[in-house]
């Protein structure tokens, strides 16, 4: 409805329209009869009379119009349409609908509709009830946020159709990012008098009021307050945020099965090499254990193994671990999937699959760089060469191999005393392009410690993960603490028999210091607590620092033991995979692909939601819409395929609802209002501020008509007088 009348009784005043009508027709019916002699001078033409008649009709219409407009104005008409917004320079209201696209919104609790379908229904309802001039845009809150519209749309049917076509909720939560997106969109694209963000969300704690999200909301709130102050100064509207809870109250405990993330013992393996894949079925919210159904292990979508789940399980541990060893026959990237087909009641479906990407290679492209000028049995790389079956080069020769594209994926610097500036630059570039470096410290660094600290560490800004302090010694040596081996690359040692590692002794080792702001993490320590292995991401690459030499110097027993080749292989495989293989996408990371064959112009992409064919405009090619959890297959026209995986964040499986206290914490950080659907709808429809009173418009029209009437009457009077 575009208009409404506040005082409809006054419309009876329209009966007054009859007065000028009756007068007009009475006047027309009444005429004098005159006996007349001078008939010959009366003009024959009736066009003059017709014009006069037309004038009279026009005059009558004007008078009728004036009466009708005055009556209408008195009846207080109100426009609820935005059509009159056209009278102003800007539209009356722009709304961004933010739909929580996290996969918890797809929860099926009993016979209830899912919160997602409730959110879509509520959003459609609000769009349908809003005034036609209101403009809408849609943002789906997930990682990364998905924008439904490039521009605001005032076509309600189109917006509703768009809402219907939205993919169902199967993303990881990121409400702050979606709010920021909506805010930016409103501030950059809208000049409306009123700006609103309406968020439809279930009332799940995680992703809304959990500590990390609150921290993000805190920063967002600060940004908004600054933006709002600027907007007020500029006379622009400040967006308001309303949250609408959908899907009813969440029960405290909901029965849900989910798959734990897949852990591969290594992400890069050689053809035929065996790896162990681990996952688990997590059992939450069940009072009594029920067998979840079956779990299938699939390789590239084809089932290769089926796990038999136990009939009984201990609910206290909450999970049923699953392991499987697998060998790969073909090179390339492969997806291994643990898929739970649930037979028992299961609230969330999106967390029933977990995937991992394993890169299978013919050879590991390892470049061993030795600190010795002459390679021999005493060289720093002697044991590494044997363990990895890879050749080594002297320090002055490695630069050429490093810069050749695709030749090297892991660079090992074994007790290299110093690097030339050009070499350092080459390593920086190598890391920037996703390469990985393993540095084994040693005796030679004693002389060049300053070089390492000043040139390579640079107070945590360089690519060396830690600052070198002193070489520490212990008379009876120290051994690695296997309990500190929590890194996936060291899993074999954590879970295997400890005897091997127990026999390892290091008499000397480098004491290092990790800068406070650094991203370096010790992934293995000695028994005395000093770091053994330190890992640090650097640009797109990864650097690992080993605080002991990987040779027999310093009386180390390690290289001679059986564990040495295993550890070195694991580390190298990890580095080869972790640095380059960005197939496991995290926190809304886009798919990024760089092909050696730059001639490819078209790529097909199969996402968990749809199949697309996309043009490649530039290399490296990126695809930002990675909001749905699952596997993304990118295929070139020659059949080559690259899988990418967005894993479900299992914290999202925890459907714990927000409490009032949680909400207050959110409100302290962001200016938001929490409403139910009805009150949100009422605030939109019954908002007097947004409806336009039309009396002034009608009275302006009356004034216009009055001027015309006076002019016309005067013209006719002049004609009469003349």
């Amino acid at each position: 409805m575009n208009f409404r009348i506040d005082n409809p009784v006054i419309l009876f005043g329209l009966l007054a329209l009859a007065v000028p009508l009756v007068l007009h027709f009475l006047k027309r019916r009444r005429f004098e009869v005159i006996d007349w002699g001078a008939m010959q001078f009366l003009p024959e033409s009736i066009s003059i009379q017709r014009r006069r008649w037309l004038d009279e009709i026009l005059l009558l219409l004007m008078r009728l119009g004036m009466i009708a407009l005055i009556v209408l104005a008195l009846a207080t008409p109100i426009s609820t349409s935005g059509l009159l917004g056209g009278l102003q320079d800007r539209s009356t209201r722009d709304v961004v609908l933010v739909l929580d696209g996290s996969f918890s919104m797809d929860a099926r609790i009993g016979a209830r509709a899912s919160p997602w379908s409730e959110a879509v229904r509520a959003a459609k309802n609000i769009v349908g009830q809003a005034a036609p001039g209101d403009r809408f845009a849609i943002v789906i809150a997930r990682q990364p946020p998905l924008r439904g519209h490039q521009e605001f749309s005032s076509d309600r049917d189109e917006v509703q159709a768009k809402l219907d076509q939205l993919p169902t909720a199967r993303g990881n939560p990121d409400l702050p990012a979606a709010l920021a997106e909506a805010w930016t969109f409103l501030q950059s694209r809208s000049r409306a008098a009123r700006k609103e963000i309406i968020v439809f969300t279930d009332k799940q704690l995680f992703g809304f009021a959990d500590p990390p999200t609150l921290a993000t909301l805190e920063m967002l709130g600060q940004q908004w307050r600054a933006d709002a102050a600027t907007a007020r100064q500029a006379g622009d509207a400040v967006p308001s945020v309303r949250l609408i809870g959908v899907g009813g109250a969440l029960p405290k405990r909901v029965p849900n099965f989910s798959m734990a993330p897949v852990v591969a013992s290594r992400n890069v393996v050689k053809v035929g090499q065996e790896i162990t894949l681990r996952s688990a079925v997590r059992v939450d919210g069940f009072d009594k254990y029920a067998r979840p159904g079956k779990v299938t292990l699939a390789l590239d979508g084809k089932a290769v193994h089926e796990f038999v789940l136990p009939d009984k399980a201990d609910l206290k541990t909450g999970q049923i671990p699953l392991n499987h060893a697998l060998r790969f026959a073909r090179e390339g990237r492969h997806v291994v999937s643990f898929i739970l087909q649930s037979e028992a009641p299961d609230v969330l479906a999106a967390d029933n699959e977990q995937h991992a990407v394993v890169e299978v290679v013919k050879d590991l492209r390892v470049l061993l760089v030795d600190g010795d000028r002459k390679l021999g049995p005493d060289s720093s790389t002697f044991f590494l060469q044997r363990a990895l079956s890879a050749p080594a080069v002297g320090v002055e020769k490695f630069q050429k191999n490093l810069t050749a594209p695709g030749a090297t994926s892991v660079l090992v610097l074994a007790d290299v005393p110093r690097l030339e500036p050009a070499q350092n630059e080459a390593i920086e570039r190598f890391l920037a392009e996703g390469g990985a470096v393993l540095i084994a410290l040693g005796e030679r660094m004693r002389q060049t410690r300053a070089f390492y600290n000043h040139q390579l560490h640079r107070d945590g800004k360089g690519w060396l993960p830690a600052q070198l302090l002193e070489v520490d010694t212990a008379a009876d040596g120290t051994l690695p603490d296997v309990r500190s081996f929590q890194h996936p690359a060291l899993e074999l040692f954590r879970t295997g028999p400890e005897a091997g590692m127990k026999s390892v002794r290091f008499e000397k080792w480098w004491q290092v210091q990790i800068a406070r702001q650094s991203h370096s993490v010790p992934i293995a320590r000695f028994a005395n607590g000093d770091p053994f292995l330190i890992e640090m991401p650097y640009k797109k690459g990864r650097v690992m620092l080993c605080t002991v030499p990987l040779d027999r110097r310093w009386g180390s027993t390690f290289p001679g033991g059986a564990e040495f080749p295993v550890l070195v292989n694991e580390l190298i495989h990890y580095l080869a995979g972790a640095g380059e293989t960005r197939a496991m996408l995290r926190r809304g990371e886009p798919i990024r692909l760089q092909l050696a064959d730059a001639a490819t112009r078209q790529l097909k992409i199969k996402t968990p939601e749809d199949n697309l064919t996309l043009e490649v405009k530039a290399w490296p090619w990126t695809h930002a819409n990675t909001g749905a959890v699952g596997v993304y297959w990118v295929r070139a026209s020659d059949g080559a395929a690259w899988p990418f995986v967005v894993a479900p964040d299992l914290r999202e499986s925890d459907l714990t609802p927000c409490t009032e206290f949680d909400l207050r914490k959110v409100r302290d950080r962001l200016p938001i209002a929490w409403l139910d659907e009805e009150s949100a709808l009422a605030s939109i429809i019954g908002d007097d501020e947004r409806s336009e009173e039309l009396w002034w418009l009608l009275l302006t029209a009356v004034l216009g008509l009055l001027c015309m009437e006076v002019w016309m009457t005067r013209r006719m009077a002049l004609a009469r007088g003349g």
Binding site: G37, A38, W53
Partner: protein, 303 residues
Amino acid sequence: MSAAASAFDPTTLAKYGRLSLIARNVVEGFLSGVHKSPYKGFSVEFAEHRQYYPGDEIRHIDWRVYGKTDRYYIKEHEEETNLHAHLLVDASGSMAYRGANPRGGISKFQYAQYLAASLAYLMLHQRDSVGLAVHDHQMRALLPPRSTSKQLMQILHTLEKTVPGGETNLAPIWDRLAGQIRARGMLLIFSDCFDQVSHLIHALRHLRHRRHEILLFHILAPEEIEFPFTQRTQFRHLEFLSQLRLVDPVAVRAAYLKNFDEFRQTLRVQASNLQIDYHLVRTDTPIDRALGAYLMKRQARRF
């Protein structure tokens, strides 16, 4: 309006009723204001005595009779009048128009009656011979000019009994009259001239060709000149009663006035070209003005 003027106001005159009284009232009142007797051209052949009226010349008093009777008598002689006047009165339907107030006003025909009667009275008193032709599209009455005292009564009677009506078709009648009136004389035409101007001029030219002097009294109602109507009006033709026209006067006023003024101006100019004395006479103007116009003409003829 002055007292003198009001005495000649046509509406006031109408109250006197009979035409003889009106004519006498008008003429005598008018002449008393003029203070100059129009009587001239007495012949030597005695005819009769008559009582002296103020305005008669003293030299025409018969002092001999005065000696006998101690009263003033004028010695009248059988006069050979030098003027044959014809009063042509249009009695067509259009002359019956009484103006916007049909009850209060007098019609154009009545005005013509008064004027013709007054002029007849005046002329007969001046011993001019006066004839009368009353017509619409055909001749209704025709009195040949005579200067006898009976003639006045006949004229007045004829005028009185005439009721306007019938179609205006002046030109053929005037044409015919031009053929009938042999003696050269004065023609006084009383008409609204609602006919084709070209036809009228043609007829007038014919009359002028016969050497008649013509006074055209164009008698019009003020409403016909000004067209003051404002309300929607149905105009009914006075001559063809079935002819009705419902018009918005405001809309047609300009066009009417243009047509009418054009007609009047054409008639005036054409008449002037034919040396015809054209006098526009509104029925709301005193009759003596028309008499004055006649006398001017008469005197011009004498001198």
